[in-house]
Symmetry: C2
Subunit: 147 residues, 2 copies
């Protein structure tokens, strides 16, 4: 529905370039991974990730991802301090991208997380469908239930 001529925001009309401009840095995809696979939803939870992002960079990336419509931010109704970040449809649609990047690195580098890997390798489509479903379930719950 929304989609016509190349967006002047990008360096070029190439779709790969658009992806790279939105996601091509050392943190954005890791934040999306944390949301998609680890269920992270708050600033504090993102900070707890193993790669140790700095707080100012995290704040900047969350702002950027929101501006691209990949994630959405909402106040926690049960705690005025807390902001809950959720993936939008656009964000969830990154599941195949993340999946292929995981498979590629695992095939060519010495990496860990064998459990995730085997799940993906067993049935890629099923894995992506699972992400999608778990997310739609959780999103509702997360937004409605206080903790």
């Amino acid at each position: 529905m929304a989609k016509k001529k190349p967006d002047p925001r990008w360096r070029s009309g190439c779709p790969l370039n658009a992806s790279v401009e939105m996601l091509g840095d050392r943190w954005s995809l890791l934040i999306i991974r944390d949301m998609m696979l680890r269920g992270s939803r708050t600033f504090k939870e993102f900070l707890a990730s193993y790669e140790r992002i700095a707080t100012n960079i995290l704040a900047d990336r969350l702002r950027r991802l929101e501006s691209y419509g990949i994630i959405a931010a909402q106040q926690d109704p049960s705690d005025g301090r807390r902001v809950i970040y959720v993936l939008t449809e656009k964000g969830i649609d990154l599941a195949p991208v993340l999946t292929e990047m995981v498979l590629w690195a695992a095939a060519h580098e010495e990496t860990g997380n064998q459990a995730l890997l085997q799940e993906i390798q067993k049935d890629k489509k099923k894995f992506i469908a699972g992400v999608r479903q778990r997310w739609s379930e959780n999103t509702l719950r997360q937004l409605l239930i206080a903790r």
Copy 2:
């Protein structure tokens, strides 16, 4: 065959993180795109790309990609000035990653290159197989034939 415990080179053992550390910047994937889809092979050809990479950054990225084993550099036997860059197997294996990134951006942004897009959408597997085959054909030809 080489693959065991997490590489200490990476910030974490997560395979997605390894991918991000190798490819997570604004130029690396575009260089690979130019090789994979446009058949670029030389410094000059990469420079001619629409996004206008600076020469020092291009030199740096080519060095990095080579150090990761994603591309290989070879002297042109018929012209001593010219260096020919080719994708390695590891580099060619990025085809599914690029494919998904193209599909994702095209689905959510206003991008161009409809021809490429329709080819991918018609049959994703066939497209990736085609890249792979054209590459193996071309690599041989490129390395043997002077121009």
